[in-house]
Symmetry: C2
DNA sequence: ATCTATGATGTAAGCGCTTACATTTTATCA
DNA sequence: TGATAAAATGTAAGCGCTTACATCATAGAT
């Protein structure tokens, strides 16, 4: 074991060639004679040489690095998307730099700056609502930006995602068809989360079209956690006992609401219907099976990787706006509204 | 907007100082006069200067980067630990480079090489069983390594985690106390997963001590997914209908097993007891509530961050071996074995 | 045998920053 | 006021690589 990490120069000396040849052997092997390649590989092996990424990046102006910022990695849909994004980027020789914004646009901006310092060649953000500084920085650095989990045909930047408003509408439609007239919504925190906002808008719009009102008190915001969903459901049913349909911002909240319904002695879906969002893997095996909207998170991750690589390698400036479909998965937690006897 | 990204030199020229002063202003502000600092900050602002990380890393031999490799990010316990690890590293000015090994030691080695190229100053791996090349590379690069999710007082490297064998034992003990005599185990894939192996060992050992055998056919391996757990449970009950206690490798598998039990018309825990592992947040709000072992993943992440930073900043070579406790959470899926009538 | 095209290798100039050391400015004290 | 220490700033040498360009070797064409 050497006292110092070996450099390209050390490898070159050991193999009796110049650094240029070693560099070529690593990056453009077809330009180096076979016999030398072997000698160099042997030198690398015995010295335990590992390239110095920073030096390489500085000299070549390439980092082969992509940045992504999600609100939190600790949410199955984001981690699924990230898993696929990373897998495909790695396959193509890129490294993913992952950061979290905790649903804060300011925090997101800070992370963007940091990623830019790291030299990312592309950026993935969630949603289309970002700090102005983010857009400025992206412009200046001239790197492709993909907004995922959102679809807007008018967007100035690439987006690969779903039409959140339409999805919200679709859920409301399903419940209205089941003759529900008294709704409650348990949403995630809306601030800094344009997807949740858009879904709520979609829901409101559809209800309004059908002459159904939705008071402020019937829309509860809370963190995405089972316990929070449970508490919200209790609150909702306390203040609005006539509610027969509860639309939740994601599956976790819905599971919490389901738990509360159980505690309140309400049967689902006879007394009350509950919907989730995302169709995370786990809910396929629990009972009652949740009616929800699936989120194509894996496809989103994979497609984002593909687009970015093409953008970078093909030096392609094209903006891509891609809508991924969502499907309403009707299972056991929604049914026809049955009027309950009330005191 | 300039045609080219501004460099330190540009900032220095604009502010009428030398690059050294700008560099100091950024890294050791107290060494630069107030008036100049303001001038420099203004220059940075108007030019939209963003430091070039690679150049900085090359010159300073610091990357402020930590690498972590988990089997998959798409597993609540890992993503939780990563979330906390990242949060605390970010707080301290470090960037986390995250990679996935897909439970393959060879893949893990490849990722280690890649991370080393990126210049990580510390490495976090899951488990203590790694490719020899990983240890060699770590030695050569002289960076601290922390094995998480595992605890071994004899370990040559730092570890922060739980005693998996003990945890397995504890679960078996609980079920033996409930008078179960016919066990089944639905484990994750054992290959490349020393944690799962150790837990299984712990289980086997305790059963053996109590004169209870565990055939190979009673131990099923499958991927960590609800559906896989469900299928495994069906298989287990087909070939070993007398089974009254099923120990699952994690909560997701247990949920799948629970689903299968429902499908088979078995009531839990009257006919059969089922246990999970991890105590992921979601299972607190589902019914029946799962008996499981909690995994201190958040503490693991936070503590790992703390240790690494101390190691790096304090230039401390100390090896830390820290055992985090686990608790058996007895809920509704385990109970006294009741003999079932059988044909 | 000479000339050229082609391929293989070497030379050396940076990439954008940090930092040891040299120099200048400012503060302190006899 | 001048000598001296301390603080602020500048100078310039790399950090470990890539790559344009120069050089050299080889082989084919004449």
């Amino acid at each position: 074991m050497t006292i110092k990490k070996p450099t390209l120069q050390d490898v070159a000396d050991y193999a009796g060639v110049s650094t240029a040849t070693v560099s070529r052997c690593l990056n453009q092997p077809d330009k180096v004679k076979q016999s030398l390649q072997e000698k160099i590989r042997e030198a690398i092996e015995t010295l335990g040489y590992v390239p110095h990424g920073a030096a390489r990046a500085l000299a070549s102006r390439r980092t082969f690095t992509i940045g992504a910022i999600v609100p939190t990695i600790d949410n199955a849909i984001f981690s699924e998307a990230i898993q696929y994004l990373q897998r495909d980027l790695t396959k193509a020789g890129y490294t993913l730099l992952l950061a979290q914004s905790s649903y804060s646009l300011d925090e997101e901006l800070r992370e963007v700056q940091s990623l830019l310092t790291q030299g990312i060649e592309g950026l993935v953000l969630v949603g289309e609502d970002h700090h102005q500084g983010v857009f400025d920085a992206i412009e200046q650095h001239r790197i492709p930006l993909v907004n995922i989990w959102t679809y807007n045909p008018e967007s100035k930047y690439s987006c690969i995602g779903i039409d959140n408003a339409k999805a919200g509408q679709r859920i409301a439609e399903h419940l209205v068809e089941l003759e529900h007239r008294h709704f409650g919504v348990i949403s995630g925190i809306l601030r800094g989360n344009d997807r949740a906002q858009q879904r709520l808008e979609g829901i409101k719009q559809h209800l309004q079209q059908n002459g159904i009102g939705l008071d402020d008190g019937e829309v509860l915001e809370c963190r995405y956690s089972g316990e929070q969903g449970r508490l919200a459901m209790h609150e909702l049913m306390t203040h609005h006992p006539q509610t027969t349909a509860v639309i939740c911002g994601n599956d976790i909240l819905a599971l919490g609401a389901l738990c509360a319904a159980r505690e309140l002695g309400l049967s689902v879906p006879e007394d009350i219907s509950i919907t989730g969002f995302d169709d995370i893997e786990i809910i396929a095996v629990i009972s009652p099976a949740l009616t929800t909207m699936n989120s194509p998170s894996r496809r989103m991750g994979a497609q984002t990787a593909e687009y970015l690589i093409q953008c970078i390698e093909g030096d392609d400036q094209r903006v891509e706006r891609c809508e991924l479909g969502t499907d309403l998965i009707v299972r056991e937690t929604t049914g026809v509204a049955v009027s309950r006897g009330r005191a």
